[in-house]
Each structure stands twice: as structure tokens, then as C-alpha cells.
């Protein structure tokens, strides 16, 4: 049961990350698609601490930001 729930959530997270990357691909710069960490921290009301949230979203940004233009 746990595996079913986690797999379903992971697949949804993956699709959301792909959607984010798709949007970022058309952004003029990496900065333009940086997450608003402050806003996310204000909204966070679960069990993940602020440092971890920051770390995760920075990694997401790094993974979905467009490559620097030459």
C-alpha cells in the first residue's frame, strides 16, 4: 500500500517537474525561473524543515533552468 501511494506521488512529482522544465525552457534567463523560496517557506506547513525545502527547490531550479545562452 505504501509503495502504491509513494509511486503515484513520485509520478505526479515527476510530471510537475517536467512541466516546470518546459516552462523554464522558454524563459529569457535562469533567474527568470528561479523559485520564490521565501513565498514557499511562508506556505510550508508540513514536516519538512526550511533548510531542506530550500535545498530541494534550489536543486529543482538547477535541474530545470534553461542552459545559459552563449
Amino acid at each position: 500500500m505504501l509503495r502504491t501511494h509513494l509511486t503515484t506521488l513520485d509520478r505526479a512529482l515527476l510530471r510537475l517537474l517536467e512541466e516546470r522544465a518546459k516552462l523554464c525552457a522558454s524563459a529569457p534567463s535562469a533567474e527568470a525561473c528561479a523559485p520564490s523560496i521565501e513565498d514557499l517557506l511562508r506556505r510550508a506547513d508540513g514536516d519538512i524543515d526550511a533548510a531542506r525545502i530550500t535545498e530541494v527547490f534550489e536543486a529543482i531550479h538547477e535541474g530545470s533552468a534553461p542552459a545559459p545562452k552563449r
Partner: protein, 339 residues
């Protein structure tokens, strides 16, 4: 009756079966499906003929449609149909958003609406030139000039356009202005003269569900379009009339999973006309996508209070942007994406 053949069935074998059926007075329709031959018997097939054909080595399966339609039945295509509206696909993995004002009111308003819809993330611009209004005294639309302004706004913002056609006499105006998708409104769903007239012109058709139409009546209307040559049919659920008066209509989301079983056609939802209340449109859009809609069609207006028709149910530009963003999230959660 729909006969699905094995992939290696030869054209000669297929032709032999077609000839046999036609010789018995049974008209046939060949599916455009490229993966394997699929053949519909338009007329009733006697039990003994069916049993004999079913036993042939090339016949994979025989399906009896749930109604008297053939070409729009799920079994007539192996995969769901994807309808291309000038580059925007309906029925593929992507979910499309159609947005725009109820009526084209002026060059300025439709231009502004198109730009805001595009910025919000919409894919197709809607707007009525010819308006089917309940009252003869209400704004009837700008007619042909409205279509010209709509197409110009679509071109300028980079979006194909959809507009409602009410009568076959209006068809030349739609073709002259190269309207990308013809909308048949709820009141005209069973106007078979209109359906036959527009089916063969090579344009996709968005067929709205009639106010009190059953699913069978709706698919039967779609069959008219298919039988007369239209291969780009998009169904649009827009709410039905029930005993409930709190909303303009009652949105029937049941059709989404049910029609997936009954037809291969793409299905979108118009929550604006279903609810008639702007605050209900975002949650109904999310629910529609979650239930399997291939898109949503919503009304928006840069200044709803000044709108000449249906302003009370139009979303503001900011509300549309939020709706599209939320649609993206729900689509991802159910394994889809935005177009």
C-alpha cells in the same frame, strides 16, 4: 456492427468481405485507422452473417455499438482521435485551453482579450460573431465583421480561432475568414441540415451538447458530421438543463469517463456556460481535467462589466492566468500536460 481485423489482413481479403456485405444490401464504412483494418457495417447485419464473419481467421473482434452510430464509436479507431486545430492538438496527451469573450464586440476589445488570453497561457481564441441570444433584443453579434476581427486578433496573438456558426448560410463567411474551428452551439446540436452542410468543408467542428440531449443523441449528432465527411470532431460538454436553478446549467462530468468508453472523439468542457458564475469556473475546470477532459473552453473579458453579452460569467485576465496554471498542475497529477 464494427469488425476489427488482424493487422496482416490483405486488402484483397478486406475487399472481398466489403463486396459480400454490400451485395447483401449492407452499406459499409472503412475506418481511417492505419494500424489495422476496421470496417463498420452501417446497416443491420443478420445474426447468421455476423457469426460467419466472426469465424473468419482475419477477423479479430466484432463490436456492437451502444447506439445507432458507427463512425464515432470507440471501436472504429484503435487509438483515440487527435483533432488538429491549426497546430493545437485536441485528444493527445496535452490539455488545451480555449479562452476569449462571448462575443466579438470591437477590434480593441477582441485584440486586448486575445493578448491577455495568450499571456495567460491559452491556446485557442474564442469569440462569437453570430450570437444565438435567447432574447431578440439582446446584442446579436457583429456578424461577418466579427469573424474578421476575431481572425485578425488570433493571427496577431498567434492563436487559432473558434467561433459559432448558426446557419449554413453563414458558412461562406467562416471560410472567407479562415476560421480554424467551427462551433456548433447547444441549440443547434440537432440541426442536421447545418451539420451536413459544414461536415465536408475540411474544418474541425466543436459540437456542443444540447441543453437536454442524452449522450446517445449527442453521439448521433456527431455521427452526422462523421458520415458527411468531417474527420475532426471535438465534443464539448457545456452543462445540461436540470431541476437545479442555482447555476445556469448542471455540469455533467459523468460524460467524461463514460464517453471514453463509447467514442474515440476528444471531449472538452465549457464550465462558463455550465455554471454561469465566475467563481465556479476554476474549480469546475480543475474537476474536468481530473475527470479526463482534453481541454476546457472558458469565457474571459478584459472588462467584464462592459461586455455586451455574458459579462457576468466572464473571467478577468488575472483569473484566467491562475486557471491555466492550476490546469497545468491538475493535468500533471493525472499524467497529462498542457499543450
Amino acid at each position: 456492427m464494427i469488425f476489427t481485423f488482424k493487422k496482416d489482413t490483405s486488402e484483397a481479403e478486406l475487399q472481398r468481405i466489403v463486396s459480400e456485405l454490400e451485395a447483401a444490401g449492407i452499406r459499409t464504412a472503412r475506418s481511417p485507422e492505419s494500424r489495422r483494418p476496421i470496417l463498420a457495417a452501417v446497416d443491420p447485419v443478420p445474426d447468421e452473417t455476423r457469426a460467419r464473419l466472426e469465424a473468419l481467421p482475419h477477423v479479430d473482434s466484432v463490436t456492437k455499438p451502444r447506439g445507432s452510430w458507427r463512425r464515432v464509436d470507440r471501436a472504429f479507431r484503435e487509438l483515440p482521435t487527435v483533432v488538429d486545430v491549426s497546430g493545437v492538438p485536441f485528444g493527445a496527451r496535452g490539455v488545451a485551453v480555449i479562452a476569449g469573450p462571448c462575443s466579438v464586440e470591437s477590434e480593441e476589445i477582441i485584440g486586448e482579450a486575445a493578448e491577455t488570453a495568450k499571456r495567460a497561457g491559452a491556446h485557442v481564441l474564442r469569440g462569437g460573431g453570430f450570437k444565438p441570444r435567447t432574447s431578440p433584443y439582446a446584442f446579436q453579434g457583429l456578424g461577418k465583421e466579427g469573424l474578421r476581427l476575431l481572425k485578425a486578433a488570433g493571427d496577431s496573438s498567434g492563436m487559432p480561432v473558434v467561433s459559432e456558426i448558426m446557419d449554413a448560410s453563414q458558412l461562406p463567411a467562416f471560410l472567407d475568414h479562415d476560421i480554424d474551428c467551427l462551433q456548433v452551439g447547444a441549440r443547434n446540436m440537432q440541426n442536421f441540415t447545418l451539420l451536413k452542410a459544414i461536415a465536408g468543408v475540411g474544418k474541425p467542428v466543436m459540437l456542443k451538447r444540447g441543453l437536454s440531449a442524452t449522450l446517445k443523441e449527442w453521439l448521433q449528432a456527431a455521427e452526422y458530421l462523421a458520415a458527411y465527411g468531417c474527420d475532426g470532431i471535438i465534443l464539448c460538454e457545456r452543462g445540461i438543463r436540470t431541476f437545479e436553478t442555482a447555476t445556469r446549467n448542471t455540469l455533467d462530468l459523468t460524460v467524461l469517463p463514460l464517453l471514453r468508453q463509447w467514442t474515440h472523439l476528444p471531449i472538452i468542457v465549457d464550465p462558463s456556460h455550465a455554471a454561469g458564475i465566475p467563481a465556479l469556473i476554476p474549480p469546475l475546470s480543475r474537476a474536468s481535467i481530473a475527470a479526463g477532459a482534453d481541454g476546457v473552453a472558458v469565457e474571459c473579458h478584459p472588462r467584464p462589466a462592459e461586455a455586451k453579452s455574458d459579462g457576468a460569467q466572464a473571467l478577468l485576465p488575472g483569473e484566467l492566468a491562475t486557471l491555466v496554471a492550476e490546469t497545468r498542475v491538475v493535468a500533471a497529477a493525472v499524467g497529462r500536460t498542457l499543450v
